[in-house]
């Protein structure tokens, strides 16, 4: 994004893809966001930090993305009383991020919607965990909060409340449906149930060790988070990773994508009333997990990506086992895809269900896999390929329809592509070391990490403190953007289709609630 017409200075920013940082006034913040929006840019994430120990009040950070790369707008608020402009009229996804930022940092935005978002009465509402003078009191007991849901009234309208404990084996969250008959008029989500204080927790870790926590922000995306964290930590420490480590990271990331997509394809079949699909795909997923365990010592590849490289090397015999499995999976997938495509009952459930048009998708700032299913062809592996993706020429999967069927089709295409990438990576796997040693990193450095996880782009914004400590770490999950899209996707559908639509997005609660 070219910020010079706005009279804003830009400095380079340490990031695996092109990025700049710009200090902005509150007026410039608003104009820069508007300019970005007019040129097709999107909001990636918004967060803040307490800088009072540096006598700079609070810093609000807004990360934008466009075809040029990333732009980080940094706005200084002199004290806790200062407010910043509401960005949600430009980027609707900003609404929840602004509310969350107040809940944990106490920096307020000039918006009409001042409801809490992550806060649910676990700590006093006037105490803010991310402030440096925050102290936990043993007297605090979890309380109960009365959240102001938006209600629809009228003849025959009623409300269905679901959660936080759901019927299936899924994460907790609350859904409030306003329905007439079977038809959903409105869905409102209430999240924050699995808020674990991850951002505060990061401050107790060293830069060298923080990857373990990053890998547990959302367990199903552990490779992506650990890699994004490693990118940021390596940029701060000023080290590069050996080529073999980069290739092994990509191999792990693609296997994470394969495993998750296979699982989702099974559950999508199951939620469409086709249990055969679940049996078949969960069998294939288990095959992938078992081989992960053999190859890298962990079924979900947790703690394999570490700052400096990877923690486990790939033995020649497991490499050939992965190659064999990739071919076998590709064959199985062709058979199962034909079965899904030809199954009239399943297609009847999938098609035109939970539709998100391209126009709506762009307006809401959708990202990742559901974006590609709604004709918004973003994929970091293609748009800004980092090593080793540049040489692999990743084919992006896109669909135009934006319904459950499109999100199923994108998953099928992406598994096929990831299987091809797996083989391509093994074909040209560099020899050599798997890790550089991670030194004591300098203090007060700031860097970004960003990785295209199976859900979408995962971001880590990392700042170092003295003696190799973490001063601030902000992880961002693409679910932040896509949870509000789900609310729109279900409008006009019937209540029994909600589980199917929800599954077709399969968003993270833990990655969102932090």
């Amino acid at each position: 994004m070219n910020v010079s017409p706005l009279g804003i200075g830009a400095a380079p920013l340490a990031s695996p893809i092109p990025a700049q940082r710009c200090p902005v006034s509150s007026g410039q913040l608003l104009t820069a966001c508007r300019l970005a929006w007019e040129n097709g840019g999107q909001l990636v994430t918004l967060w803040g930090s307490d800088e009072r120990d540096r006598e700079r009040g609070f810093c609000l950070r807004v990360l934008l993305a466009d075809t040029d790369g990333l732009t980080l707008l940094e706005h200084t608020l002199p004290d806790a009383e200062a407010r910043y402009p509401d960005l949600s009229p430009i980027f609707p996804a900003a609404n929840r991020m602004q509310r969350a930022n107040f809940d944990i940092l106490g920096v307020q935005c000039d918006a009409d919607d001042q409801r809490p978002w992550l806060w649910q009465a676990a700590w006093p509402i006037d105490q803010f965990p991310l402030r440096r003078d925050f102290e936990v009191s043993p007297k605090w007991e979890p309380g109960e909060e009365d959240y102001a849901f938006v209600r629809v009234s009228g003849d025959g309208v009623h409300e269905i409340a679901v959660g936080p404990v759901h019927a299936g084996i899924i994460e907790p969250g609350h859904f409030r449906f306003q329905v007439v008959g079977e038809k959903v008029l409105r869905l409102e989500e209430r999240l924050g149930y699995v808020h674990k204080g991850i951002e505060k927790r990061f401050e107790t870790f060293s830069l060298a060790e923080g990857y373990r926590l990053a890998g547990r922000v959302s367990g199903d995306s552990t490779v992506a988070y650990a890699w994004a964290y490693a990118q940021a930590a390596e940029a701060i420490a000023g080290i590069t990773v050996p080529p073999r480590a980069a290739s092994l990271r990509a191999l792990c990331l693609e296997r994470e994508r394969i495993a998750n997509h296979l699982g989702d394809l099974g559950y999508l079949g199951n939620d469409g009333g086709f249990a055969f699909g679940l049996s078949q795909f969960s069998r294939l997923k288990e095959d992938v997990l078992r081989l992960n365990g053999q190859a890298f010592g962990h079924r979900f590849l947790m703690d394999v990506v570490v700052p400096g490289g990877v923690a486990a090397d790939l033995a020649p015999d497991t490499a050939s086992a992965i190659r064999k499995q990739s071919r076998e999976l590709a064959r199985e997938l062709r058979v199962l895809r034909d079965i899904y495509d030809e199954h009239a009952g399943l297609q009847d459930r999938f098609r035109s269900c939970g539709q998100v048009s391209r126009e709506l998708a762009l307006k809401l700032g959708i990202t990742g896999l559901p974006a590609r299913a709604s004709g918004v062809p973003q994929d970091l592996r293609c748009d800004f390929p980092v090593e080793p993706y540049a040489a692999l020429d990743v084919r992006r999967a896109t669909r135009e329809d934006g319904d459950v069927a499109a999100r199923v089709a994108v998953r099928f295409d992406e598994v096929v592509e990831s299987l091809r990438l797996t083989e391509a990576l093994l074909d040209v796997m560099p020899e050599g070391h798997i890790a550089s040693s991670f030194p004591l990193a300098p203090a007060d450095r700031f860097a970004l990490g960003i990785v295209e996880a199976w859900r979408g782009p995962v971001v880590i914004a990392l700042e170092s403190g003295p003696e190799g400590a973490i001063r601030r770490c902000h992880p961002h999950d693409p679910s932040w953007q896509n949870w509000p899209v789900l609310e729109h996707a279900v409008i006009g559908n019937i209540v029994p289709d909600f589980p199917l639509i929800n599954k077709s997005f399969n968003l993270s609660y833990s990655g969102h609630d932090l």
């Binding site: 649910q120 676990a122 700590w123 965990p129 925050f134 936990v136 605090w140 007991e141 979890p142 109960e144 936080p164 404990v165 019927a167 299936g168 084996i169 899924i170 994460e171 907790p172 924050g192 149930y193 699995v194 808020h195 674990k196 204080g197 991850i198 505060k200 927790r201 373990r212 926590l213 547990r216 922000v217 959302s218 367990g219 199903d220 552990t222 699982g263 055969f276 679940l278 049996s279 078949q280 969960s282 069998r283 997923k285 288990e286 997990l289 079924r299 979900f300 947790m302 058979v335 199962l336 034909d338 079965i339 030809e342 993270s508 609660y509 833990s510 609630d513």
Partner: protein, 181 residues
């Protein structure tokens, strides 16, 4: 339809055979037999995610795949705590889930078993106790068996479930919650 039948026939039965050379499958086979002997018929489980990173949920899901075939053993996940014999709880228990977890526990009919899953469920794990988490599951509701692991493998989960239902198995001391009601 023909494709489906052909795929089913080609896939065959994947549930692990009892005698098997691989170490992992031996354990599973023994567990299956013991679970069947102890239960005779059925065990119903209500799973509660009380704050996990969702890693444990992935392995609990895996229990249902054809290899472990939990339902084939008569063990079933149910949609309501009122239908459950056992609560399978992942943690750390976030402060925001503490009330929901206690209510779920109260809604489960006696006699009931509670199995805490994962390093976080056992000790609070990497998230520990903080302004946002109560730590281990036993800090909030009484726990019969705790299964460590990050996340525990499906085999470890089966072993833990067995430990909870086998009266002959040495029972860990029942830990009472530290938090007031």
């Amino acid at each position: 339809m023909l494709h489906i039948l052909r795929q089913i026939a080609r896939t065959g039965i994947k549930t692990e055979p009892r005698p098997s050379p691989a170490a992992e499958t031996v354990v599973v086979a023994r567990l299956q037999e013991e679970i069947l002997r102890t239960l005779g018929r059925a065990l119903t489980i209500r799973q509660v995610d009380a704050g996990s990173c969702n890693g444990c949920e992935l392995e609990i899901h895996a229990l249902g795949n054809p290899y472990y075939n939990l339902e084939g053993l008569g063990i079933k996940f149910v949609a309501s705590p009122r239908h459950a014999d056992m609560l399978l709880v992942t943690g750390p228990v976030s402060k925001h889930m503490a009330i929901a977890l206690k209510r779920t526990y109260d809604a489960t009919p006696d006699p009931k078993l509670v199995v805490a899953v994962g390093d976080c469920g056992c000790t609070g794990g990497i998230f520990g106790e903080s302004y946002a988490t109560c730590g281990r599951v036993a800090n909030v509701i009484p726990v019969d068996v705790a299964i460590p692991g990050c996340p525990p493998t499906p085999t470890a989960l089966l072993q833990g479930i067995l430990a909870a239902i086998t009266t002959a198995a040495p029972q860990p001391e029942r830990v009472e919650p530290a938090l007031p009601e």
